[in-house]
């Protein structure tokens, strides 16, 4: 544990890290505070306050209570936006979604069967959401998509920045002793080559800590500029929350019922898992390749290839390859907006983001351990 503490100390003593953290915080803060519309903010504050008093479900009691609110343009607008709302998930047929996707993208190979199976399984989840009236959640009414997107953008930015940091730190910590010419000293000490384990752990801890800092700071700034209009208790499957596909709009369908707070917590938890994947990837490359610069280039070339793979494979009609590519870490990062949802054509099984990250954790932990095992028998120049 002491050695882990020292490795963290070494990471946080790098001036470049603090410059990077400050830069990210500034960018995220700007994102949180930009595009503030006084009108929209007033609407959101009103909608949140009303729900705190009268409940957040569009049921007869809600409208009765809303009608008793002091008359105002904001009240009228909310009444108008929520008027006649029905439980849209109660009669939703997910097989129709499958047909839409299959018609739009015309996939082949095993993908057809997997998509049909996925949407058949989704029916149970949608029925459950319908049963509990998730679609009747007021959320932010017609401001829902914008509000969600703003919050989500902060989350995605934090993950992107931290993932980059996790990769870089994974590579750097493994090679820094060569750069400082302290490798011989460290590896001939009692702890020896086992310091690679502490270095890998320190890289992830630093990246995870940075992620939490970025998210925390973003939410704090957002809360200030948008007067705390988070709507944490709203259901993300509200009928006002939609996903825009190429030629159609569909509801935001999750595999389980999530409030916005639960959804964000789940996103953050899984993001920490994905950060560990990236950290393991960087550490494995740093251990395997002697030169940190080459490791950096190799990792980023590999990630770019992962990112491009689904598009290239689908264009080439290699649908079985496409299925495998949807599990790549870079693709999982890219599809973060679709986590815990049906995922359209970007996912092939229920809860793919969760299974994908678990699979990658096992795979990259294995690759890291192989690299570590090789390192333990490798000559140190």
């Amino acid at each position: 544990m002491r050695c882990l503490g020292w490795e963290l100390k070494k990471i946080f003593s790098m001036p470049m890290l603090w410059i990077f953290l400050a830069g990210c915080i500034l960018v995220n803060g700007w994102m949180a505070g930009s595009g503030v519309s006084q009108e929209e903010r007033e609407r959101l504050v009103y909608r949140q306050t009303v729900q705190e008093k009268n409940g957040g479900q569009m049921v007869p009691d809600f409208w009765e209570s809303l009608a008793k609110e002091p008359p105002s343009a904001l009240r009228e607008q909310l009444l108008e936006e929520t008027a006649g709302a029905e439980n849209t998930l109660e009669d939703l047929n997910t097989a129709e979604l499958a047909r839409l996707y299959l018609g739009l993208y015309q996939p082949g190979g095993g993908l057809v069967g997997l998509l049909e199976k996925k949407y058949a399984a989704l029916q149970d989840a949608v029925d459950a959401l319908g049963g509990e009236g998730a679609a009747l959640s007021v959320y932010a009414a017609r401001d829902t998509d914008r509000q969600f997107q703003r919050l989500y953008d902060g989350l995605h930015a934090a993950l992107t920045e931290s993932a980059f940091l996790a990769l870089l730190l994974g590579i750097y910590t493994m090679g820094m002793e060569r750069l400082c010419r302290t490798e011989s000293l460290l590896l001939s000490a009692k702890r020896g080559r086992k310091t690679a384990l502490e270095k890998g752990a320190a890289a992830w801890i630093a990246a995870a800590g940075s992620y939490l800092l970025f998210v925390g700071f973003f939410l704090a700034v957002y809360g200030i500029f948008w007067e705390g209009t988070f709507f944490w208790n709203a259901n993300v499957a509200s009928q006002f929350h939609t996903v825009q596909e190429a030629v159609f709009t569909k509801p935001f369908l999750t595999w389980g019922s999530f409030t916005l707070g639960e959804y964000f917590a789940a996103q953050m938890g899984l993001s920490l898992g994905l950060l560990l994947v990236f950290s393991l990837m960087g550490s494995a490359a740093g251990l395997w390749l002697k030169n940190s610069y080459i490791a950096f280039l190799a990792v980023f070339a590999f990630l770019f290839a992962q990112f491009a793979a689904p598009m290239l494979l689908s264009d080439a009609g290699c649908w079985n390859g496409y299925i495998a590519a949807t599990f790549f870490p870079a693709v999982l990062w890219h599809t973060q907006p679709l986590w815990f949802t049906d995922g359209g054509i970007s996912t092939v099984i229920p809860w793919q983001e969760s299974w994908g990250i678990c699979l990658n954790l096992v795979l990259w932990a294995g690759i890291f351990l192989l690299a570590y095992r090789r390192f333990r028998r490798k000559d140190v120049a």
């Binding site: 020292w6 001939s188 000490a189 009692k190 020896g192 028998r377």
Partner: protein
């Protein structure tokens, strides 16, 4: 006892060391050879940084690579290129190395103060190492190697780049450290070794040439070293060793079987043996 049994190290087709056999007990061993002879290779194997291609290295009968951390906790190593973290102070740096060596924090704190005192660096203990001279850095290097009070101290060219004063200080320090442990000191500076080593290990052609006390090594050239004025023609078979200035002018030292004309016999020193032995290696 540290036993090096028939150890060979190859890098592809290149043989860095071939069939080295050595038995080391407490005392100071000077590993003397020109650059590229394999000194650092041997020391790095003893520090478990390199793995022998064949052969074994054993401590009290047990293979050091099987022992892993149990062996490494008994060694102190000062590498040829001693790196450090420039923004660290000596105390910070030594605390880190102590953590790597598994020394409990409280004991490490006391030990660090003792060692800073030993290497005369107490007053510089809280200054950043990037401001230190080469000699000061080497002293911290010795201190870190001694943190765990090692049974085996491995020093790779510890006096390279040091001025005469620092080299003398280092030799004095080593005298004090050499009790009750194996000290293996590699150098190509003969004077560093002849005063402190009780055994000199010579490598030649990537093989072990000798492991003997300095006196016995010097006796190999006994009655065969002569000085004569510089410029005098050398007899056939004589080997030029070195030249030096005397009050009477420049003289050359040569090694040959019979006394050359005008030549004065002089006692053979370790440097003479070194120059004679490695004459074909461009020394």
């Amino acid at each position: 006892m540290l036993q090096i049994d028939n150890v060979t190290k190859q890098y592809g087709k290149f043989t860095a060391l071939s069939e080295i056999d050595l038995s080391l007990e407490n005392g100071v061993y000077g590993l003397l050879a020109p650059n590229g002879a394999g000194k650092t290779t041997l020391l790095k194997m003893l520090a478990t940084l390199l793995f022998p291609t064949s052969g074994q290295i054993r401590l009290d009968g047990e293979d050091i690579f099987q022992m892993e951390s149990r062996y490494r906790e008994k060694i102190g190593y000062l590498p040829q290129e001693f790196g450090y973290y420039k923004n660290n102070t000596p105390r910070q740096f030594l605390r880190y190395i102590a953590a790597l060596k598994g020394i409990p924090a409280k004991r490490a704190k006391l030990r660090i103060e003792e060692l800073l005192e030993t290497v005369s660096m107490t007053e510089h203990g809280d200054k950043k190492m990037k401001k230190f001279s080469g000699g000061m850095i080497q002293r911290i290097g010795i201190a870190q190697a001694m943190l765990n009070d090692p049974e085996i101290l491995i020093l790779d060219e510890p006096t390279a780049g040091l001025d005469p004063k620092e080299r003398a200080r280092f030799r004095n320090l080593l005298h004090g450290l050499a009790e009750n442990r194996i000290v293996l000191l590699s150098t190509h500076i003969v004077s560093d070794v002849e005063t402190i080593a009780h055994q000199v290990i010579l490598l030649r052609g990537h093989r072990l040439h000798a492991c003997q006390p300095p006196g016995e090594i010097c006796r190999t050239l006994s009655d065969r070293v002569f000085e004569l004025p510089l410029g005098e023609a050398l007899p056939e078979g004589a080997v030029f060793l070195s030249e030096r200035q005397t009050g009477a002018g420049a003289v050359q030292r040569v090694a040959c079987e019979t006394a050359p004309e005008g030549g004065m016999p002089v006692p053979a020193g370790l440097e003479d043996v070194f120059l004679y032995l490695y004459r074909e290696e461009g020394v």
